[in-house]
């Protein structure tokens, strides 16, 4: 398991390493700043989808140890989202605080992106064992349900920024529907079996 974890840790760094390499070797096309901003955002989204995949995978395979990978994947969501956010603040707005505030207020897709990012912060802070203990499992779990909101909000953020051809965001939204759908389905089934055993 620890071997798998190490491998996954290194593999998850690859998109960032590739982006830096591609930037330095001029492989990101005519508008590298746009490419790198979009790609870091897309990787944050992909890692989020991966974290959401872990639980259904545990159900499917019965290999519950997989759950230990989830925290690391979640932290990678934050890593790529932070890069994405910093690139926007720096290369789009040049840390001009007035422009940034105006943008956040006026552009719904920026507003959503901004709040999605801030919603990640409590999850990162409470991601270590000590915090799980301090909060207690139940409350921790409740707080981390924020992940579902973050996933839905980031889908909307992605969908809104695409000018016309929505096929790429729709692809990720379809995956999310499956990831959330299996949870609802299992929840309902559990409830149904519970109800029938009571009657």
């Amino acid at each position: 398991m620890s071997k798998l974890k190490t491998t996954l840790f290194i593999a998850s760094l690859f998109p960032a390493i590739w982006l830096v390499y591609a930037l330095l070797t001029d492989q990101l096309g005519a508008n590298p700043i746009e490419s790198i901003t979009r790609d870091t955002g897309l990787w944050a989204l992909r890692f989020l989808w991966l974290t959401l995949l872990i639980t259904p995978l545990c159900w499917l395979t019965g290999w519950n140890k997989l759950i230990t990978l989830r925290r690391m994947l979640g932290l990678y969501v934050f890593f790529y989202a932070l890069l994405h956010m910093l690139l926007y603040l720096w290369l789009d707005q040049f840390f001009d605080i007035n422009e940034i505030i105006k943008d956040i207020i006026k552009r719904p897709f920026i507003t959503i992106g901004f709040f999605t990012f801030t919603a990640l912060i409590p999850l990162v802070i409470t991601s270590n064992n000590a915090m799980v203990k301090r909060l207690g499992g139940k409350r921790w779990k409740k707080l981390h349900r924020l992940t579902y909101f973050i996933a839905i909000a980031s889908s909307i953020h992605f969908y809104m920024l695409v000018k016309q051809d929505k096929s790429e965001p729709l692809f990720y939204i379809a995956l999310l529907v499956v990831l959330l759908g299996v949870r609802v389905y299992r929840h309902q089934k559990k409830f149904a079996t519970l109800a029938s055993s009571l009657s």
């Binding site: 005519a30 508008n31 700043i33 290369l91 552009r107 016309q164 051809d165």
Partner: protein
Amino acid sequence: MFIGKKRLGEMPAAEITDHQVYLNRRQFLNGTATVATASLLPLSMANAETSPEPTFLDLKKSSFSMDEKLTSYDSVTTYNNFYEFGTDKASPALLATKFPDKSKPWRVTIEGECDKPGEYDYDDLIRPFTLEERIYRFRCVEGWSMVIPWVGFPLADLIKRAQPNSRAKYVEFTTLYDPEQMPGQRRKVLDWPYVEGLRIDEAMNPLTLLSVGLYGQELLGQNGAPIRLVVPWKYGFKSIKSIVNIRFVEEEPNSAWMKAGPREYGFYSNVNPDVDHPRWSQSRERRLGEFLKRKTELYNGYEEHVAHLYTGMDLTKSF
């Protein structure tokens, strides 16, 4: 296929300004066949050494040209919005390499409210006109911009030949519809064929260009070969590519982007830093090749030439 590439430049004395002298240096060097391509280019184009040998020679220079650093040939030909070849920037350059099919003649129809309609082969269409080089800014509605040395002739010259009548209030342009050649048209991302339009006075403005080349070369497929519109004070999507039909009409044409998003894309689509796209700001732009964003100018910096077209109009309503 292309006839009439080599034209003798005409240089009216009135046009000879400092800027012209600067550009003339290139014209002089163009005649010196042994000089390497890179040295043909002005110093400001130092990053454009990968641009090919020009095929249009002795192009007339224009006083409308901007004295700004050109966007590299590489960027101009690999970073394109041409949804007929896919919706990402890289696809057009990859999928339009054989466009347009040289075995099929390129026919352009001129019709509608005019006294001299007609259907022309590409060569016949452009033969009467004197080609010139125009270095224009190009501002995309997405917030990036380029500086491109176009080759073309004023649309007004063509319109005068067609002799529009008094009912011709607008000009409507249509791109080729051919999903065989244009794979992007197999998906209904836009309501094909692509249509654009100008008010007749916008079309007659001396800045409005019909372009057949850039960087002294014939247009590549991804740039809208063999003939396209260039309207430098409007967002890039107004500059319709690969034109097969020019029609004089009485009613305002309904363009492909107006149909796609009437709230987001208006008929005029003039570059305006104070009128935002509903989803993003238009106040600044990223000039390709530059690190910092620059401020976007009203009418993309062509205010003195076009502002009179819109006096008395509410630009936030007629966006």
